[in-house]
């Protein structure tokens, strides 16, 4: 009898594991939230977002990154051990576990809660999934009083919730801004993903891309021939368009500037238009610059899964390119999380940059670089080239809340805006609660930019769409300028679902590129 019961239980467990590892069948798209003009605190709907789940990474993807191929047999024990390691390694994580006083400040700050209404998408609700396990295995009251002390066994159903809800966090850190204790839920979500990877439960989208960067040097998996073909095509396009042979140098040694930009700039629309903009800036300013085929990626998805190892390995390609090509300056293209990694982590990961010219920021953001040239009169600008546009600016979450540009506080907000105003005549900001450090995520950041999460992405974009739609109605805005490859891909995809044409989303350097007068100097 006893044996039989065990077998049944085992079978149920096997079935649960299989369900966890398998993607649910494709569903019809959910209705797009209505644009009412207001971002309101919604009524709670328990479990409303429980069915969202990204594809699980296959063994070959996992193993390439040094993670177990599939869920390990003693996963619970292994997960608790990994949690212990992380709590010891990251003091911040330990503090975040203990200091939440459930004040509720964060509850209505997350775009995924505002749109899905699921309380587990409230930042504290999401973190609670982690804290339940923490209490159970790491606190005395949790060990003794169990559920009474908010401690929960780390079982398969809780793991399934982890997998679902920690992939409904774009790690945008809006909640941390409003938390009186500064609890950073993004860090908790990164730790959760790191733990899941360590037990063999990885997310396909992010981990496949990390594998591609290791193999080919960019997120898209473009080999050198494809990259060169794309770059040659851009050169032809610019010349056809303007009659001026603007070059995009590749692997040039001893250039003044090495530009590292997201690989989407070599592939996608509207990303490409910003690449055209950068090229025109360098050309017209007469600055020798180069791209690198081995470091043709500013993005660093290692951060999304909390893996310091992979972050460093990805960043090391840039260090290698600097050593081989010996540029004097390092400039980063339009990419939100990449700028966070570059600004906040590169110095530790691959620095110090002693070999670069110490007169300049190491690295420097392309917006700061271009604005400086304009302010010094190095570029001739015809603002009227953008007169068909009324422009607004979406602050990218990672840039807004994790970095700075220039040497003044708030430079990450002011520099892109000053740059836009230097190349256009009509600029309008969106409403106060949705800009600068209070900005909402585009809805596709942090590893969520994948098709099977499209419903989460459409919903997550709701607050930004409300604010954009408002300025479209009141001020005739028809261009939302962006400085992030993920924002560009996300908005062009989801805006049509809100009835907004995809052409409304574009890069800041797309506007710059249109306004630069080639061939003339002041």
């Amino acid at each position: 009898m006893a044996e039989e019961i065990t077998t049944t239980e085992e079978k149920t467990v096997d079935k649960d594991i299989a369900a966890l590892l398998t993607s649910p069948p494709k569903r019809a798209p959910e209705p797009t939230p209505e644009l009412t003009g207001k971002i309101v605190k919604p009524k709670i709907v328990q479990g409303a977002a429980a069915h969202y789940k990204p594809h699980v990474a296959k063994p070959e993807i996992q193993e390439k990154l040094g993670f177990p191929g599939t869920l390990v047999e003693n996963w619970q024990e292994a997960a608790v051990a990994k949690m212990r390691e992380l709590l010891g390694k990251y003091k911040s994580l330990q503090v975040y576990m203990d200091i939440c006083v459930r004040c509720g400040s964060c509850t209505d700050k997350c775009q995924y809660f505002l749109s899905t209404r699921d309380p587990k998408n409230m930042p504290a609700g999401r973190a609670e999934l982690f804290r339940q396990v923490y209490r159970k295995y790491f606190t005395t009251e949790g060990k003794i009083f169990g559920k009474l002390a908010g401690a929960v066994d780390f079982d398969l159903s809780l793991l399934a919730e982890w997998y679902s809800y920690f992939h409904q966090c774009s790690q945008c850190r809006r909640c941390s801004l409003y938390c009186p204790y500064g609890i950073d839920t993004a860090e908790i979500s990164m730790a959760a993903r790191e733990i899941m990877d360590s037990i063999g439960l990885g997310q396909k989208y992010t981990n496949e891309i990390i594998g591609k960067v290791h193999e080919l040097g960019n997120n898209l998996g473009m080999n050198e021939a494809a990259l060169r073909n794309a770059i040659e095509f851009v050169e032809e396009e610019i010349e056809e368009d303007t009659g001026v042979p603007v070059k995009l140098p590749i692997n040039e040694e001893d250039a003044e500037v090495l530009l590292v930009t997201p690989s989407a700039d070599f592939f996608a629309t509207p990303h490409l238009e910003s690449l055209v903009g950068y090229a025109k800036v360098f050309h017209q300013a007469g600055i020798n610059w180069t791209l690198s085929t081995t470091a043709a990626e500013a993005g660093n998805f290692g951060m999304f899964v909390g893996s310091y190892y992979h972050m460093q390995k990805i960043a090391s390609r840039i260090k290698q390119a600097i050593e081989e090509l010996r540029p004097k300056r390092l400039v980063v293209g339009e990419c939100g999380h990449a700028w966070r990694v570059a600004y906040a982590f590169w110095n530790t990961l691959i620095g110090p940059f002693d070999m670069l010219n110490q007169k300049y920021p190491r690295p420097q953001h392309i917006c700061e670089f271009t604005l400086d040239l304009i302010n010094r009169g190095a570029l001739k600008i015809d603002k009227s080239a953008n007169d068909e546009f009324v422009v607004t600016f979406h602050d990218s979450c990672n840039v807004a809340r994790a970095t700075r540009m220039g040497d003044k506080p708030g430079g990450q907000f002011d520099i892109p805006r000053e740059l836009i105003k230097a190349v256009t005549n009509k600029y309008v900001d969106m409403e106060y609660d949705t800009i600068r450090e209070r900005t909402f995520c585009c809805g596709g950041g942090g590893g969520l930019l994948t098709d099977e999460l499209i419903d989460v992405r459409v919903k997550g974009a709701m607050p930004r769409m409300q604010a954009l739609h408002n300025v479209m109605e009141t001020h005739g805005v028809n261009f939302m300028a962006l400085i992030c490859a993920i924002c560009k891909a996300q908005f062009t995809k989801i805006m049509p679902k809100y009835g907004i044409p995809m052409e409304v989303a574009g890069g800041v350097h797309q506007l710059v590129g249109r306004a630069i007068v080639l061939g003339a100097k002041e």
Binding site: S23, L220, G221, M222, F233, A264, F267, D451, A485
Partner: protein
């Protein structure tokens, strides 16, 4: 293992229905995938698919949309060489539908 049965053969796909093996592709299989996608294949659809496949053979990745659109200009004339016409052919987008029908892996990254 995800995939589909067609004419008595099992075709392995990824979780989103993209063929795993490039060599599994044939005109018949493409027609079948197109049917599942609700796309009726015309000559113009095939021109796009064939260009995608040729490009992929050379560069191991689908071309950027601008390259595709420029090629479409050559194939169909300037009034049809644009994004709108491409979306008219493949309403779910070139990456999601055209690549899928062409038997190519989905481009993935910040795109």
């Amino acid at each position: 293992m995800p995939g589909f049965e067609f004419n008595g053969k099992f075709y392995e796909t990824d979780d989103d229905g993209y063929l795993v093996n490039l060599d599994d592709w044939s005109v018949e299989v493409a027609n079948y995938i197109a049917q599942q996608e609700g796309v009726e294949m015309t000559d113009a659809h095939w021109e796009v698919v064939n260009f995608l496949r040729d490009y992929y053979k050379e560069y191991k990745i689908a071309p950027m949309i601008k390259i595709l659109i420029k090629e479409m200009k050559k194939m169909f004339g300037p009034e049809k060489g644009n994004n709108a016409y491409l979306y008219q052919l493949y309403p779910a987008g070139p990456a999601l539908q055209a690549c899928k029908i062409a038997g190519l892996p989905k481009p993935t990254g910040c795109v």
